[in-house]
């Protein structure tokens, strides 16, 4: 935003909305980090905490919805303020979905054996680290209204696709070695897919940020990596 509004309370309401999105983003990021940690360390004790933190994220979503409705009714925002409001709505939806995926991954820890081989988890961890970095970068670009950085995140999703493919292959390789691995391997496949979907939500957020800053959507289709359904 540029100059301040003549109506101070309008300025405060917009600031409050943006702060809520930033806080929700930070909570979502922590939850994603925790759920990845739980998967990699097969830490069953942290599952409940992660599931609970999803409730907090959902509460933020409702709070942001209310703030947006109030802003629309009270202020009828225009131009940059309108885009700020609409983007907040979209970003909070994507953050909530990322929260759901993190929760889903935390739940998948329960059936995992404690002695998972390192080569199996290595690729999954690399994928998780990349998705966490993507989320961190996209939230940074939101805070600093940095168009180039948001676009960079959008383009980098190709790497998420590629790493998803690699992580998926290593699980399938492991599974093919011994059919008794089938049960928990399926959970790992879903966890991998969840990370890829979280990556997609992050690119949605990047698109919303680009729209917020320039008033137009990124042109062309996002670069895609290897397709896991192969």
């Amino acid at each position: 935003m540029s100059n301040e509004h003549t109506v101070k309370s309008y300025e405060e309401e917009l600031r409050y909305l943006i702060d809520s999105v930033i806080k929700m983003g930070s909570l979502t990021e922590s939850q994603l980090v925790d759920s990845m940690d739980a998967v990699i360390k097969v830490d069953k004790d942290s599952i409940d905490k992660i599931i609970k933190s999803d409730d907090e994220i959902n509460k933020f979503r409702s709070k942001i919805d209310t703030q947006i409705m109030t802003l629309l009714v009270k202020r009828a925002p225009m131009a940059i303020d309108l885009r700020e409001t609409i983007s907040s709505l979209k970003i909070s939806q994507d953050l909530e979905r990322i929260g759901d995926l993190s929760k889903s991954n935390a739940k998948k820890v329960k059936p995992l054996p404690l002695d998972l081989p390192e080569e199996l988890l290595g690729n999954l961890k690399r994928l998780g680290d990349l998705v966490i970095k993507q989320l961190n970068d996209v939230l940074d670009s939101y805070v600093n209204k940095n168009y180039d950085k948001a676009k960079e995140v959008w383009e980098k999703d190709e790497q998420v696709d590629d790493l998803t493919y690699i992580a998926m292959e290593s699980v399938i390789d492991f599974l093919s070695k011994d059919k008794k691995n089938l049960d928990f391997s399926t959970h790992l496949i879903f966890a991998t897919k969840n990370l890829e979907r979280a990556g997609d939500h992050i690119t949605n957020i990047a698109e919303s940020i680009c729209f917020l800053i320039k008033g137009e959507y990124l042109k062309g289709s996002r670069p895609k990596g290897k397709v896991i359904e192969k």
């Binding site: 540029s2 100059n3 301040e4 509004h5 309008y10 009828a76 225009m78 940059i80 303020d81 885009r83």
Partner: protein, 253 residues
Amino acid sequence: MNEIKIKSKNLNVYYGEKQALFDVNLDLNEKEVTALIGPSGCGKSTFIRCINRMNDVIDICKVSGNIEIDGVEINDKNLDVVSLRERVGMVFQKPNPFPKSIYDNISYGPKIHGKGETKSELDEIVENSLKKAALWEEVKDRLDEPGTGLSGGQQQRLCIARAISVNPEVILMDEPCSALDPIATAKIEELIDELKKTYTIVIVTHSMAQAVRVSQKTGFFHLGKLIEVGKTEKIFKNPDNKMTQDYITGRFG
């Protein structure tokens, strides 16, 4: 995009020493609504008053530059101002019906412009004008009652009917709803939407929401200069100029 109906080129207006408009270049499209917005004193009303030469009545007012309607210069001293105002009607902020009957309010213009020579012709003009202004059903049984006895919203629609009665090509509206309640405003806006099928409309408004609702094109004035003009949707979603953005988002004004 419709054809250009009105074209202003390097339009400058002075009230004595004070310059009110600076080199305004603005094209207004036929059968479209153009909204002019900007803080008080920015020149938007001065601009529309140039289109029907209302500024002629102000002694200290001087106009330079060009305004063309259908390619014909209207600042030409030899131009018949009465026939210009027949082509370019105007509706003001405060409804100003004549202290006459509803019927006479509408028939007055056609009479002085030599339209409607017989009573039945005038009756037809009155009925059609009131219908176009969406007022006929409300007043058809009391056409001989004073226009000033109507509600504010009805009076404004009466003024619109009066403007329409001489069959103009352009209707200028200077904050036509600022004295009206939301329902009366909604009726006028609905009417504007209908009228644009027939007339070229220029509306000055302080309500951003109204500009968005009624217009296809919006021009933003500030301190006598046209800062930005473009499609209404673009102006209110993503204006190019920072001043426009600051104004429509309530950051100055």
